[in-house]
Amino acid sequence: MKLTLRIWRQSGPTGALVTYPLDDLSPDMSFLEMLDVLNESLVLRGEEPVAFDHDCREGICGMCGLMINGVAHGPEKATTACQLHLRHFRDGDTVTVEPWRAKPFPVLRDLVVDRSALDRIVESGGYISAPTGSAPDAHATPVPKQAADTAFTSAACIGCGACVAACPNGSAMLFTAAKATHLGSLPQGQPERWTRAQDMVQAHDDLGFGGCTNAGECIPACPKGIPLTTIAQLNRDLLRSHLR
């Protein structure tokens, strides 16, 4: 199949979309394999290959992240860009590929952005303080089934940043809420629950992310199906932490 790619190229402070026609693609290729093919041809022509982030290519690491035709991770629901296959495009389509756009995610090169801001949020409170040493018995702390389920759903976040990219406010609230809800739902996370909510929201705001206004755009963008209820729980925790 044939596709015309319009890819954001940037090596300095600004960049532009560059058009690359591609022939002979297989519909079974993944989106990243297509970029590999393009890069091979660019290298053969003596041009700079397109820089893009990726690692596991199986939808679990959160490294890949592309805005494909204005949709984070492309048109498939609950699918990372690395798991997106060309069969979801029509032969002859023009596809625009851009990096995540947010002030706290500066573009490093082409499609690669620096997402360390998400790490700063986790550092501010996305942990529990517990004595380490040998692993505790698995049943040492009983966890109610519902709490375990909520924690597990939230823990599925892979930190890809698609929620930020899709948010009309440039907010990282879904990510922040996923982390806070993951720990805040478990018994081990209770001692720091209230300071965690305050510190993570503060870090989120200080990093320059926008404020969440419940637009809900992050939900279809999230490849891991993190639900909006996590944001409600973080809101509740934060309000409660101040009113206690």
Binding site: R6, T96, E98, G210, T213, N235, L239, R240
Partner: protein, 209 residues
């Protein structure tokens, strides 16, 4: 100190939007119910207006509303400016947010605010009303809705309000920590639109004259 930290945070601002929004929503519902008195004739609605003044709720209510509107707008502007700063470079291949109601919250709010100014000049101060006699609520209303452009302006404003509530009522609950089904907000918004639009509709159709 704690309160200040809460107010400074984006989550705290959202809570301010929610609480003031709920206050305004309660007023909007009360106002709508009051409007329906028009269907019981001039004496009922004029008497209701006079009674509101008598029991002395008008000024405290105005003060409360002003506070709510003020905070609601200040915080909305702060969040909008923050959002703009958070994405200095936009997407070339833009895509509109999916929910029309969510997308129009900011401009819809401006439309509602402008309408409120006109509405106050029209039916509170009476200066923009074709009849414009204090206390003659019924006659003022009927005089208004005999003019097609007043009906049009009023209808647009009520629909903008409905859309605002469609997203806002659900959003307020979410901001305060409760994820409610979106249908609730739709029901509330539809009921409010129907209640408000029944008055101009009645005048246009000649049910009230």
């Amino acid at each position: 100190m704690q309160t200040l930290r809460l107010y400074r945070s984006t989550v705290g601002k959202k809570a301010v939007m929610a609480v003031t929004g709920v206050g305004l929503l309660l007023f909007v519902v009360g106002h709508m119910v009051g409007n329906l008195a028009i269907f019981s004739g001039p004496a009922a609605i004029d008497g209701y207006a006079a009674w509101l003044r008598e029991i002395g709720v008008v000024w405290p209510l105005r003060f409360g509303l002003l506070l709510c509107v003020g905070l609601h707008m200040v915080v909305a502007i702060q969040l909008a400016r923050r959002a703009r700063k958070a994405r200095p470079v936009g997407y070339e291949h833009g895509r509109r947010p999916q929910s029309y109601a969510a997308r129009t919250m900011r401009w819809g709010g401006v439309v509602i605010a402008l309408f409120v100014v006109y509405h106050l000049l029209d039916l509170t101060a009476g200066v923009a009303n074709p009849h414009g006699v204090q206390g003659e609520v019924y006659n003022n209303l009927v005089a208004d809705f005999r003019l097609w452009y007043v009906v049009l302006a009023y209808t647009v404003a009520v629909l903008a309000l409905g859309l605002h509530i469609r997203h806002g009522a659900w959003s307020a609950l979410q901001s305060l920590g409760v994820t409610a089904p979106r249908g609730i907000a739709l029901v509330v918004a539809t009921a409010i639109c129907a209640g408000y639009l029944s008055v101009p509709a009645a005048v246009v159709l000649g049910v009230v004259s």
